[in-house]
């Protein structure tokens, strides 16, 4: 059982990649990208989890109480910002693509462009 969280993160990563490769719509593809990235937060937070540990916030908690790892949480925060920015950029590009080509299907766009 102690391995399940990691396996699930690998599963989410694979599912996201599958979605990206199969996607016929850039907006759909952008969301698949965020799903793939969500595997990284799940993995990071699972790595830093300590059984029976509380959050690494010592407001009203005695110092030295077992708590989960704070570093992975800081990393996940950065990772989430990256995911928002990438989503916004890819969607902005998708909107421009739609304006120029009238479609958001990557296959059609490639065919138009030659």
């Amino acid at each position: 059982m102690t391995y399940v969280p990691y396996a699930i993160s690998a599963w989410v990563c694979a599912v996201g990649l599958y979605g990206i490769v199969m996607s016929r719509n850039l907006i759909h593809l952008a969301v698949c990208l965020t799903v793939t990235q969500s595997s990284t937060y799940v993995l990071l937070l699972s790595v830093g989890y300590v059984q029976g540990g509380g959050p690494p916030i010592f407001k009203g908690v005695k110092l030295g109480t077992t708590s989960v790892d704070p570093v992975v949480q800081a990393l996940s925060l950065t990772d989430i910002v990256v995911s928002v920015t990438v989503l916004a950029l890819v969607l902005a590009l998708a909107l421009d693509v739609h304006r120029q080509a009238g479609t958001v299907d990557p296959d059609e766009i490639a065919a138009m462009h030659g």
Partner: protein, 599 residues
Amino acid sequence: MSWIPPLLVAVPLLAAAVVVATDHVLPRRVEDLIAIAAAATTCALGVVLMLRSERGDVIHWFGGWNPRGGVAIGIDFVADPLAAALAALVGGLVLVALVYSWAYLEEAARLFDTLMLVCCGAMCGFALSGDLFNMFVWLELMGVAAYALTGFEVKDIGPLQGAVNFAIVNGIGGYFVVIGIALAYARTGALNLAQIGQALTQSGSRGLVIVAMTLVVCGFLCKAAVVPFHLWLADAYAVAPAPVCAVFAGVMTDIGLLGVARVYWTVFDGAFAADRAAVGDVLLSLGVATALLGGAMAFLQRHVKRMLAYSVVCHVGIMLAGIGLLASEGLAGAADVLLAHGLLAAGLFLTTGIVIALFRSVDELQLLGRARGRPLLAALWFGAALGLAGPPYVGLFVGHSLIDDAASATGRTWLPPLLWIAGALASASLLRAGARMFLGLGARRDRLLAPEMKERPPARGTRLSVLAPVTALVVVLGLVVSVVPGLPQRTEAAAERFRDRPAYASFVLHGSPAVHGPRAAFALEPASLESILYGFGATMLALALAGWGLYRPELGGSRVLQPPARALKAVHSGVIGDYVMWLTVGTALVGGIWAVTLR
């Protein structure tokens, strides 16, 4: 502690913020000057840092959080001569690009300056960082700025498609890096490169280390555009404005290779000390495949910027092969190729920008003979293109010769001819295009070349009084790299230090400065006879291939060449789904091979 390393990041980034904040107050030319001054400062600081670090590595712990008992609690920048030199090159090329664009781009210049400066700071940060997650942050920052710069010409579908493919492939590469970081962190509880390396040397669980290395290396190889992660590159570089391409081609691609070299020699080298060859052989094979495929694809293009893009792929392959030899001479060779190629490729893109501005086309066949009577442009073009082939003591020669030495020292005599031939192929395609454009030679049609693109490049500024000197400066600097006294010896000494993991670790974690030999003399050592012959041969081969390419349609042989050419083009389809498929295949392949050979 030195105060220089953080400035290499802080100066360009702060300047970017200032340009945005004062946008509606200051006139545009003042903002341009702020940007240019920031890039110049970055370049100068890079040079100073390089000279300083030759006397011994320079470290800066951010926030003053020095390691405690060998545990790093903050983030560090470590400057060694190679990384500092790369940062100086970054600053220099961004400076050139900003000055060039001052005369070249008319609209949206504020956003252009801002994004270029952000990209500059991010590249410097990536080169200097001594922390694995911090490297990822700069990788992403570099990427975000670069995607937007690629899509700069938003009114056309080509740039948009190029930017989308660039963003998605590099984005996935970034996720792989994060998963690799999570693996390393889970095992070692550290993010500092030296500390992870130290812990991995002692710990078991090979599987985890192999997978972590696969993911981090493949993530960086996406940025470096190594086969099969290279497909996005031509789409993006063919469409970005010329000054942007100069920076992308000159340093941004290669910086992925620095990432590979850095993590290998600080983190994984200790864990795989017993089977280094198995790690190196994979990198070496990828490098050779990339060089040959890049050269061949360059030869099949008629869109000049796309051709240049594939020539970048080709040279990235040569550099990766040098790194894959896992020897100081090989790494030094890769660094010298990087320097010469960075300048020459930037010069070629800038020359192309002038051609676009004057003749409103980037198509070799359309431009047939139209650029005749432009002796300066022609000289720049042919000079840079020949320099890429590496005639004795010109351009890429010195880098190639160091790689040759490393290859023969490790008994891989088959390697140098392959790399020289690949470089000659890329050079030949550029010479062919130059002969058509500037001399009007060659056949009018060639069905072997990729079909013409529909887009028409927009009109550009044509202030040649600014554009030409800047371009000429870059090309000349690139050509003379091979005769800089003492350069090969000093890069080799720097490479030797770059590879010394135990010294790096004890310097970073315990502050014990490493002992370095005296600085190498400013002497000009003769290259080996083999290399001179190779260089001469490659130049002849490039000229011959260029001539053959010009008159090939009249000579026949299309029937033999057509099917493989078509197959190659079909792989480079422009469809993002295919690219991600190749990315997955590549990662699975690299990881699979390492899983079998290293376990």
